[in-house]
């Protein structure tokens, strides 16, 4: 296999590798337009067609492609040498001399720093962050450490169990009072509510009042109160009137506070 006879089919060039090299060297073809990866692929394809590895061809190809890559890289990234090349020889020499002198100065300064460092080798000092700028702070009033301890102790204590006793309140059945007030009204035409419930607990009083309201709704009695918070007077109604409401009363007898 002869590398120089490698046929290429690229965007910028079509023909043998040899011709491409000649054109590049004569600067008739701009390497920046040539796809070098395409050349490598073509070579590898040709290489794969043969069963034996042609070391000689590989070596030759490597040398050629490496040279092309270097040329192309230089073309793509014009460096400072190129800038210098554009200058007149005298200017270029002047520029180079200036740069060398500058570097020489830097080296000299570095040398001075090295000597200085050696001479100052015995320097030990405290290094830390830059001091904080003074800041206006609000000072806290003097505190008692025992106060903090007390506060922490409170936090450390396990909280008491939450009482659920109020959830289990049992209201006495309203029906009990319905019967009681009906019996009372059979004996007396009227009674004073407060007097009747004075001995009862608050819950029982509430149930009793609901019973009165229930009887009032059924039309079995009448309620009077002269003014807010004044004594509530309960009086019996005519039996005829109460009978009309019996059916309704039956339906609502099961009414309890729990369903409220």
């Amino acid at each position: 296999m002869i590398v120089r006879e490698l046929e290429l089919d690229l965007d910028a060039f079509e023909g043998p590798f040899d011709l491409l090299l000649a054109l590049v060297l004569k600067e008739e073809l701009d390497l920046r337009d040539v796809d070098l990866a395409g050349i490598i692929t073509a070579f590898l394809e040709r290489l794969a067609e043969r069963e034996e590895l042609d070391l000689e061809a590989c070596g030759e190809f490597l040398v050629l492609i490496a040279a092309l890559l270097e040329l192309k890289a230089r073309a793509l990234f014009p460096d400072e040498a190129a800038e210098l090349a554009e200058l007149e020889p005298e200017e270029a020499a002047e520029e180079l001399a200036r740069r060398l002198a500058e570097y020489r100065r830097a080296k000299e300064a570095a040398g001075w720093l090295r000597e200085r460092l050696a001479a100052e080798g015995g320097r030990f000092f405290r290094v830390g962050p830059a001091p904080l700028a003074p800041r206006a702070e609000t000072p806290l009033a003097p505190q008692d450490p025992e106060g903090l301890a007390t506060a922490l102790r409170l936090l450390a204590e396990e909280p008491a169990d939450v009482s659920l006793s109020h959830m289990a309140l049992r209201f006495p059945p309203v029906s009990q009072f319905l019967e009681q007030f009906r019996a009372l009204l059979r004996r007396r035409s009227r009674f004073d509510f407060e007097t009747e419930v004075r001995e009862l607990t608050r819950l029982e009083q509430a149930s009793a009042f609901l019973a009165v309201l229930e009887l009032r709704r059924a039309g079995e009695l009448a309620i009077e109160q002269a003014a807010p918070f004044a004594p509530i007077r309960v009086s019996r109604l005519e039996p005829e009137a109460s009978k009309e409401n019996t059916a309704q009363q039956e339906r609502t007898a099961a009414w309890t506070v729990r369903s409220a």
Binding site: P89, E90, A92, A93, E94, L96, A97, R99, L100, A101, E102, Y103, R104, R105, A106, K107, E108, A109, A110, W112, L113, R114, R116, L117, E120, G121, G122, R123, F124, F125, R126, V127, G128, P129, A130, P131
Partner: protein, 200 residues
């Protein structure tokens, strides 16, 4: 102006000197006369007088602690005679094993700073990334703005730690390097000769 205070038997400058000693022993970076004056609630001139007093007390050979004027301020350091003992216990990461590349970069930043990495690379002829990163980590240089406002290359300057490590009162203490000697002229002549040969 007269100094009527000098007539008071117990020298009040001594009291001020003690205050300055306290401030300096607590400080972790050099303190300027102005900072000391504000902290001591005294006037800067008297602070300077008192600093002389402190300097006499804390001098190399006389005390294990030495007062020095460094990095634009005043600071205590260990006496030179005690360096060996200090070295047994303490590390000095800022100045340990500074390479030639780091020293050259440091020199460029010290003389030409604030300057950017491209500036440094142009002078040294090689990329400055690792040397700059190394010096940044040591705290010898720090960022100082950018070239031509935002978006430009970051510029660097030396830090007060640099001045302390090298024992400089300020950057103006660096020697002048304008004179690079006969070498420069010689280099120029040789380059000139090469250029003439090429153009011929």
């Amino acid at each position: 102006m007269d100094r009527p205070l000098r007539l008071i038997p117990t020298d009040p400058l001594d009291k001020l000197a003690r205050t300055l000693e306290a401030l300096l022993v607590v400080a972790s970076a050099p303190l300027s006369v102005e900072e000391l004056a504000v902290a001591a609630a005294d006037d800067p001139e008297r602070v300077e007088d008192a600093l002389r007093l402190v300097g006499e007390r804390f001098a190399d050979g006389r005390s294990g602690i030495v007062l020095e004027h460094v990095a634009g301020g005043w600071a205590f350091r260990a006496g030179r005679d005690e360096a060996v003992a200090c070295a047994r216990l303490f590390e000095r990461p800022a100045q340990r094993n500074l390479s030639q590349a780091a020293l050259e970069t440091l020199a460029i930043v010290a003389y030409l700073g604030p300057c950017s990495r491209p500036d440094i690379a142009r002078i040294r002829g090689v990329a400055a990334e690792s040397a700059v990163a190394n010096l940044l980590e040591r705290g010898l240089i720090a960022e100082a703005g950018r070239d031509n406002g935002a978006g430009g290359a970051v510029r660097y300057r030396t830090t007060p730690v640099f001045e302390r490590v090298f024992g400089l009162e300020s950057l103006s203490e660096l020697p002048r390097l304008d004179d690079v000697g006969p070498d420069a002229a010689e280099i120029r002549d040789r380059l000139q000769a090469v250029a003439e040969k090429r153009s011929a």
